[in-house]
């Protein structure tokens, strides 16, 4: 069942990439949106929509990171830090921890703002770094932030985190134990993230990011404020994961530092690489594929293996191996990702081939 939804979504994405007619694209988007909104009434169960809601959160994260890495060309290996900040915003302000019970809907926006603020703060020291150096520093920040949450035991519950987070309500109706509200909110979140991503790509700021990515010196000579544009990328990118973090925490009703470790940053970067960095639709496909592999395919293979060989192996320990294999495979056979944009394809192939594509 989960595969049906994933397949429909991915097929729609591929179709959107293949069509060049605006109206055709818009039609596919509308049909897909209608399907994703209505089909759950007839088909699927809570387990399926739980996975899909998680997948949707990851799509939002990947779209956010895509703004930083894909648009502005800043390799950020610590993106999970902002996911953590979003999640802990909900964890600390909507739980018995401080007895604060701010509304979910307010925290959604507050977390976006806080994550954006920290995106800019953590981005600021890296503004003059490039390539490897930038990657190392952001990697460090990605490690530091969950460590801080772990060590501020008094405020964050330390290694155990914060449990029994508030169940959100919608005009007085509690979400209860259902995962459907999260699924729908995440869908709306994705729609907003897609809309903003597309706006940005075509905008003055998007062109400034392109210029910085391609040639920072030439960008400066065109009068682009490189530092401010980079800060904007860090802040906007982080805000997406702030919202994702709130959704994730509220659905799980729990936050703990180990949920936001290095593996999450790697996972999101892998999604971008798999799907095609910089290309909005490609990023969606990459994140859907990896989440489905993670949350549905691997557990199924795991139980199949256990049932066949009467073992109790835990394949989840193999996640890193699988990401590694995916990354190596993609780099070898399709370095531009599954659904790349023109720029990336041109960059990674000979000029002649790219001209043929264009």
């Amino acid at each position: 069942m989960i595969y049906t939804y994933a397949f429909v979504a991915i097929a729609a994405c591929v179709a959107i990439e293949r069509f060049h007619n605006r109206r055709a694209k818009a039609t596919i988007v509308l049909i897909l949106a209608a399907f994703l909104a209505i089909a759950p009434r007839f088909y699927g169960n809570d387990a399926v929509f739980s996975v899909l809601a998680d997948a949707a959160v990851y799509v939002m994260l990947a779209l956010g990171l895509n703004i930083v890495v894909g648009f502005a060309g800043l390799l950020d290996l610590g993106y999970a830090a902002f996911f953590a900040i979003g999640a802990y915003t909900y964890g600390m302000l909507a739980s018995p921890q401080f007895g604060l019970h701010l509304p979910f809907w307010v925290l959604l926006f507050l977390a976006a703002a806080l994550a954006a603020l920290f995106g800019a703060l953590l981005g600021a020291p890296t503004l003059r770094l490039h390539g490897d150096y930038l990657a190392i520093v952001t990697l460090g920040f990605g490690e530091i932030v969950p460590q801080i949450f772990q060590n501020l035991t008094k405020y964050t519950g330390g290694p155990n985190g914060i449990a029994a987070l508030d169940v959100p309500t919608f005009f007085g109706h509690s979400f209860g134990a259902s995962v459907m509200p999260y699924y729908y909110i995440a869908l709306v979140g994705i729609a907003a993230a897609l809309w903003i991503s597309r706006n940005l790509r075509e905008s003055r700021l998007g062109r400034a990011w392109m210029a910085i990515r391609e040639d920072e010196l030439a960008a400066k000579h065109a009068g682009i404020d490189v530092l401010r544009s980079k800060l904007a990328a860090f802040a906007i990118g982080a805000s997406f994961s702030g919202i994702g973090g709130v959704l994730f925490a509220a659905k799980l009703a729990l936050v703990s530092p180990d949920l936001f470790g290095f593996q999450v940053s790697v996972l999101i970067v892998s999604m971008l690489v798999l799907g095609g960095m910089g290309n909005i639709v490609g990023v969606v496909v990459g994140s859907l594929l990896l989440t489905i592999v993670n949350s549905a395919l691997l557990p199924q293979i795991n139980s199949l293996v256990d049932a066949t060989f009467h073992t109790t192996v835990d394949l989840s320990n193999l996640h890193f191996l699988i990401y590694g294999a995916i990354l190596v495979g993609i780099m070898l056979f399709r370095p531009e990702g599954l659904l790349p944009n023109r720029e990336r394809r041109a960059e990674l192939h000979h000029a002649g081939e790219a001209a043929g594509d264009a």
Partner: protein, 253 residues
């Protein structure tokens, strides 16, 4: 009216004196050439004008305003655009997008406009795209709007870079060896293009190695040698200037 004034400008890199005591005025509406043997300090001079380097002595003003301490992007906003000796295009972006980046300083859309695709953003984009197409036509490369800059021929890339620089509607255009690598018919077209740019109201300051082109095109020429200005004047004067002849051909035996 002077667009550019240099007074006693000096620049050292460690023990090497790249420029010393260079004084130079460029009048509005001029086509001004800077020539000199390799290593004479021509590119260093350009790099001082766009704040890639800071100068050690003297002063530089653009349009009567000192540019001491200003950043590269601030200077661009004062109306100074440049091209580079080794092209620096945005290779993996369309020719049109390259020119539209050049228009950055003319646009006013802020981050919020960009995020929400507001009316201002859309209106500016439409206008910017239209102007970019016109500019590509003006420099003589229409028909390649959607192609990636890196896939264009060398001569087209040179013109595209000029179009990107012009897109900011600069009052001073710095061309760093615009004729390098062009064949003779392309050079010929370049001369008329640069004249057309000047006639459009932009002052042009160029560095060039091709003597014939400089003599034909520039109304005024300054000659640098070992970081010093050894001569300045009209092409005819420069051609006959003993120190220039010495710098280029060596001292008479």
């Amino acid at each position: 009216m002077k667009v550019l004034e240099l007074a006693g400008v000096g620049k050292r890199f460690g023990a090497l004196t790249a420029l010393s005591n260079v004084t130079l005025d460029v009048e509005e509406g001029a086509i001004f050439g800077i020539i000199g043997p390799n290593g004479a300090g021509k590119s260093t001079l350009f790099n001082l004008l766009t704040a890639i380097y800071r100068w050690d002595e003297g002063s530089i003003s653009i349009g009567g305003l000192s540019i001491a301490g200003l950043s590269t992007q601030r200077i661009a906003r004062l109306g100074v655009s440049r091209t580079f000796q080794n092209l620096r295009l945005f290779g993996n972006a369309s020719a049109l997008a390259n020119v539209m980046v050049g228009e950055h300083v003319l646009l006013e859309a802020n981050v919020l406009d960009s995020l929400l695709n507001t009316g201002r953003e859309r209106r500016e984009r439409t206008e910017a795209e239209k102007r970019a197409r016109e500019l590509l036509r003006f420099v003589g490369v229409s028909g390649v709007e959607e192609q990636f800059a890196r896939n264009l021929s060398y001569g087209t890339q040179r013109r595209l870079e000029i179009a990107r620089a012009l897109a900011a509607r600069p009052r001073l255009l710095l061309l760093d060896e615009p004729a390098a690598g062009l064949n003779s018919s392309e050079k010929h077209e370049l001369v008329s293009l640069i004249r057309a740019i000047r006639d459009g109201g932009t002052t042009v300051l160029l560095i060039e190695h091709d003597m014939g082109l400089v003599m034909n095109l520039c109304e005024r020429i300054a000659v640098l040698d070992y970081g010093e200005k050894i001569a300045e004047g009209e092409p005819r004067e420069i051609r006959e200037h003993p120190r220039v002849i010495e710098a280029y051909l060596g001292a008479p035996a």
